[in-house]
Amino acid sequence: MKPIIGAAVLTLALSSNVLAQSFQIPDRIERLAPKARESVNITLDGPLLQLASQFMGANEQEVKQLVSNLKAVHVRSFEFDREGQFSDADVESVRIQLRTGWSRIIDTVEDGEHVEIYVKRDKEQLGGVVILSAERKELAIVHIDGPIDLKQLSLLGGHLGIPVIPK
């Protein structure tokens, strides 16, 4: 009986850890779209990412390689006409999910722009990245799920405005 209980506890612990590391765009963030002047809503799962990589051009091979390992990409970006269209509670609903299993590697606040970058460890590499950017009139959340290393991102430094990440 004891081994069964032990196995059940272990399974529960592992599954709760996996659940803790999974990230979803909160509903209250989704509800900001009608207030926004411009919004971007992108949800790409594994099969769609694979399909997209098949349509990458010859000059997009590095992007193709980066995308081929990813599990999902979620982007929510809102631009508002005036300030105060989203609250701290909205941003906090994102942070709450990132408290377990994620590490905040960058947190910058300057001129009303607050950018945080969270990473998830998966064995020896990064298993995902969340970028949370809150400005006075803008809010952006980017979630890249899957093995993504900073070297690959730095390889894309010259493309798409992605900078080379300093070591």
């Binding site: 992108i42 769609l48 997009e60 990409v73 982007v75 950017s133 798409l160 990440i165």
Partner: protein
């Protein structure tokens, strides 16, 4: 033509067109065969129907395949556009952060 030659030709024609009775039972056989209907051939009306059906199946299959491929192409192009836009947004945010870090380090030096 000389009279003798003319006579020989007349005789030959007469022999060729001589009335001959049909073999016994010929009329019955003709009536029996006629009552069985027309003879079926491979290249007849049935063959034409099969060919038309085959062409129709090929045309419909081709049309469906083309539509599926077209839909897949549109979805693929749209997914590609979204991937590039996602990376652009992520890149712009990272770029902004990098500039801030660089400014901060420069001010410390």
């Amino acid at each position: 033509m000389r009279p003798r030659e003319q006579h020989e030709l007349d005789e030959a024609l007469r022999e060729a067109f001589r009335q001959v009775d049909p073999p016994p039972g010929f009329a019955d056989r003709v009536v029996r065969r006629a009552s069985r209907g027309p003879v079926r051939t491979i290249g007849g009306r049935a063959g034409l129907r099969w060919a038309a059906a085959a062409v129709l199946v090929i045309a419909v299959s081709g049309g469906l395949w083309y539509r599926a491929e077209e839909r897949r192409r549109i979805e693929g192009e749209e997914a590609r556009r979204q991937v590039l836009l996602s990376l652009q947004i992520a890149g712009s945010k990272l770029s902004a952060v990098q500039m801030k870090i660089n400014r901060h380090e420069e001010s410390r030096q």
